[in-house]
Symmetry: D2
Subunit: 236 residues, 4 copies
């Protein structure tokens, strides 16, 4: 079942390989008969996470089907250690689906953080912004269709050109496959408070998926990465 994200998006697990036990199985190849005490799986996973022994986490793999706005896709695709197949707007016509923020996520520019949000917009300003976003999306899409149309009057513009009229809040889709180590790295950066809310909404859904899929690994990740505190040499 897909996890709904934002107004029209989702994340859905298509397939996966391995689980907490597969991490341990791989780690134990390294240790061979050298492992004296039979350490339990959870303890071993916590040990690996604590000491940055990341390769056993690469032994698990997961494939997602994701529907997401283009501006989120542009941030997401920067994570290069993954496999991707995206809907082609050269080949096919995009759907009339745009991300319009819910009122509580329509935030002002932060005054202190150049790369962040401030308070939620209120009243008339909020309304003005929502209207502009909605109208521009609809008008762009109308014109997209108009340019594509083939009839007696016109040949129809190439899809690969027409799509450049569409704004970055239009939805796209892809299959995204990644190993667990790099998924956790993605989540660390994108479920973080510095990430833009919209990609964080996807990362949060994927955190819930990961917590179900590999509970021990995800708990260790929370303790030693997400919620850990790092003190610089100078702070120490």
């Amino acid at each position: 079942v897909p996890h709904q994200v934002l107004d029209h998006g989702f994340v859905r697990v298509v397939d996966y390989m391995g689980d907490d036990a597969a991490i341990c199985q791989a780690a134990r190849v390294s240790y061979g008969r050298g492992t004296k005490s039979v350490q339990n799986d959870e303890g071993l996973i916590r040990y690996l996470m604590r000491h940055w022994h990341s390769t056993p986490f690469e032994m698990c793999e997961v494939k997602f089907h994701v529907k997401l706005p283009v501006f989120v896709a542009r941030q997401w695709i920067r994570h290069r250690t993954a496999n991707v197949n995206e809907y082609s707007a050269r080949y096919s016509i995009l759907d009339r689906e745009f991300y319009i923020p819910a009122p509580e996520h329509l935030a002002a520019q932060s005054g202190v953080n150049n790369q962040g949000r401030g308070e939620v917009l209120q009243g008339e300003e909020a309304q003005r912004v929502l209207n502009l976003l909605r109208e521009d999306a609809m008008r762009s899409y109308d014109h997209y269709e108009a340019m594509l149309a083939q009839d007696d009057n016109q040949q129809g513009l190439a899809r690969e050109l027409a799509r450049m009229n569409l704004p970055a809040n239009i939805y796209t889709q892809w299959y995204w496959k990644v190993d667990l180590h790099n998924l956790l790295h993605f989540l660390r950066l994108r479920a973080d408070a510095h990430a833009q809310y919209e990609i964080r909404a996807y990362a949060d859904a994927m955190c819930r998926i990961a917590a179900d899929w590999v509970p021990a690994a995800f708990a260790a990740f929370r303790d030693y990465r997400m919620d850990a505190v790092s003190l610089s040499a100078q702070a120490v």
Copy 2:
């Protein structure tokens, strides 16, 4: 000096490491004293290319500064074996610069190739399309500015949200650094007739740059990759 590409874009070499000689230097590490005859550099490079000995080509590196429309950037970024820093539309305000195709590149959808272009649009249709692209770009940008504006009436929408109103033909910029093997792989896919004209325009400029930078390697690449013909087992 930057190479101009499309209406407002460019590719500019910021820095590079190595050249034809560096490829040979690395290849000769492998051969050690085993190399009986002193093969000349060009011959060695052709040999390496022909036999897919790709790692010596990874010993050269180049860094570009590129200005390009967002829909081109979306295709380009799919090449994961590179290093990238892009202008942040969360952090800063984008410029009012949009790609508007020259009349001779305003093509109809191909009837035979789903992912391609047909004839160039003519007369009224061409004019209609150009007007729509120009007007929508300007209106979107006007509204982008309007949503961002901070004054007595409004706080100003967060930049990371306002930018989602902007269409995919707006320009962005980045630094893009890559090794020669993966640059050639990029060029093979993107200077190819199946690639969209707009990214091909960048790839063509980079072919010229590569031909200057590493003439022997680029000539071998042309002969054994770009202009080579592959016959399947069945065709043979």
Copy 3:
């Protein structure tokens, strides 16, 4: 069931994700509703292979358990697009198992190809070589054990140091996980006549595994890569 390779080695599939259908499923995400005719899976896979549309092949993943001589491992590990966990000779004691070539693989240095083999060694020379390989392996291992031994007379050398006395034909083990595109790239280079016989023996076993696992993809790979012929621009 493991595939036996060389005298003590094996390749065994531990797990896999996806198959021919998964390649098509991912490719069809790209095409969306644009795909007019329902092309069959095999035809689609051949199309993707022919046109170097490699990302759908990355949607399949396979995990092997491999036992192999160290000198083979040294060639294999050069393929970076994979996930690996190897038996640790710092942590554990290696087994007394060495690769000794079967008589028919004990070949002379090639006179024409610096990186290749000539005729099979015969008679006394073959015997001399086999004796040296066997004796040196056994003696090195005896000394490895002697240096490690802890008793009243000695503390025992650290395992990470003692192992440096062991020759490159000793066996090691690892888990090796890779996506199908990069597996095929590996097989292309390592099931090839230029590869050393010993790694080719593993690649051949893996070709059989792949042919079972993804028959359409493997057949396309054979036709368009392994058994294809490439003509340079000059040859054309």
Copy 4:
């Protein structure tokens, strides 16, 4: 000038691209006109390191020539985000050079850490071990040469086979090229107390090189990575 490492090894910088200023140059592309205050380079670099903004560090590249024992090369090559060309023992004949630990590095197996060293071996045991290492290295090499020899009595074993008789302390060489972000990642793991002394000796030399090359980045790396302390959620 090469930095001498171990008894016969070295690390030598062949070429590099970029420096502290190049990191900032790339980071500033992202910030565009958004950067209000002109933050100085050092402050910016510290900020990037602290917040795991790692891509600007990828904008620097360095190429090393390294001579190192095979067992060190086996650990080193596990770092996949680099470009490598190694001396080929299929193509050429290896030199008679072996790593023999200095007496102060001839350590016993640790009693508490399976993957570590204990006290330095003393007296007769140390002597016995050194003798075994030296004699086995010399004998293996004598036999390597004997098997390779071509004369009236014998054709000479293929180099790719003969080399499997050589122990893991023989020296090899390679060119190794990497970006600064991944070099620092390598140094973090390999200049660490958990790494085997022999690879640490190389990492230490490379730390000195990096401190000269990119002083601000290396200082930030020391403070926020190498010498930082991480407290788990539970510890906090």
